[in-house]
Amino acid sequence: MAGGRVPASGQVTFTRNPVAQHDPNPFLYVNKVGTDGWLQTRKGESTARVPLVKYTKLQRIESKNGRTYFKIMDGPSRGQVVSLTDTNVGTYIGTKPPVQTPANIVVTYGKYVPGWISEARGGQKLDQQMATLEVDGLSVQVTMNTNWGTPEHYTPIPPGTYTVLVPDAPHNADMTQFYRKYSKNLEFDQVWFPIQHGDNSRYVHVGNVSDGCTTVLDLDHWRDVEEALISHRSPDGTSVAQLHVKGKPERAE
């Protein structure tokens, strides 16, 4: 279906568009992913895997020998040709696009809490610089740093505005899957969003330990936060959100 506006009345009409009917390459999107947050596709004719996050934009090329081939239109793997089995196309690929503006994340620094006990990490006391993260009507507790040392080591990110990039690849499952023993709702834990700052080694991610990252402590609500971020794209398709960090950390180094 396509839309049009009647010039005289301004009324919006919807008619079957013959151009769209014959367009062999409409844009499609990754609309479903695995519990790790990624869809594994096959690169070209090879057996190499290309992981894609939800709402990655695709252009269908062709279908042959039971596989459908797509060109990736945005994100870190933009321009590559990947394929899925025809069966999986029906399950994982759809027409729902991301919101075409970046999400707005507001993080406000709170207390420094020494001795925060992490059940998921064996009852360890962790010294957390806490903050509150708000996005899309959600409000969750985050830690902005846990491991401390000299000033050139990990520190909470300075107040300011940062761009949050589209995730590039699944992070090591061994680093976060143990949290699932403590939260039945936890999934998409291998999706880490890089924050554009310095060498881009800070992320928005789930867990109990922050190396200067924005780490969502609320394991049960990570999948909601993840969806609130991954369902947005900047116009150029490289980022998902703007991160506004406000206030002042009680412990800065």
């Binding site: 020494p114 001795g115 059940e119 998921a120 990490r121 064996g122 009852g123 360890q124 006391k125 010294d127 491991n147 401390w148 040392g149 000299t150 000033p151 050139e152 080591h153 499952a173 061994d174 680093m175 899957q177 143990f178 023993k181 330990v209 190396d211 412990r251």
Partner: protein, 212 residues
């Protein structure tokens, strides 16, 4: 068996416990040991495999003297499956990372770069004491326990040796380093927050790398 130590796995809150090895077991160490004992039934083969992979990752980074990366790997190993090696190596690599001399970027003049005091005592005594209590001290207690009972407390033949500390020299070195770090933390508890931490003393406590 390479060590005979007083293993007190019954709960005992409050005062530190002095072990037969001469090391002090703090309430923080005890709390973690109790937590590990209470959650042994939750361990899975997948968790143990993940812990082994991360220990290998940690070893690779440690041998390249990339102690920050080594610390990250080891500290994510033990939540998958508590193991003495990861606890000991996490604590060791974290403080090795902090004590490691920094290379000055060539584009900066000396006046712009490292301050005369890289680390003051504002948080140091607390950070070091808590870290050693929750890492090396836990690892040493687990190593002694594993040596007598196996890593899951009942059958030493069932599991991969990669999750066990079986090298007496490694254990002895880790024990000496831990005692030295505990003494250093105690010393700095009596120093003013503004005093500068002697990183050379920290390096001497750690000694040469624990693995080559």
């Amino acid at each position: 068996m390479f060590i005979i130590a007083c293993i007190l796995f019954a709960g005992s809150a409050g005062m530190p416990i002095v072990r037969a090895s001469g090391q002090t077991e703090s309430p923080d160490t005890r709390r973690i040991l109790d937590h590990i004992a209470a959650n042994r039934s939750k361990q899975t083969p997948a968790g143990r495999a993940a812990a082994r992979r991360l220990n290998s990752d940690g070893d690779r980074a440690y041998r390249r003297h990339h102690y920050g990366a080594a610390f990250t790997a080891y500290m994510n190993s033990y939540p998958n499956a508590p193991n003495a090696y990861a606890y000991i190596m996490a604590g060791d690599s974290h403080w090795r990372d902090i004590a490691q001399p920094r290379i000055q970027p060539s584009s900066q003049t000396p006046a712009q770069t490292l301050p005369s005091c890289r680390l003051d005592n504002h948080y140091f005594a607390h950070d070091l004491a808590l870290d050693v209590a929750q890492n090396q001290a836990v690892g040493l207690a687990l190593a002694a326990h594993d040596d007598m009972h196996g890593p899951d407390g009942h059958n030493p033949d069932m599991h991969n040796n990669a999750l066990r500390v079986i090298d007496p020299l490694f254990y002895k070195r880790a024990q000496e380093s831990t005692a030295c770090l505990q003494a250093m933390a105690q010393h700095y508890e009596t120093e003013p927050p503004t005093s500068c931490v002697d990183l050379e003393r920290l390096r001497k406590c750690l000694g040469p790398p624990l693995i080559k």
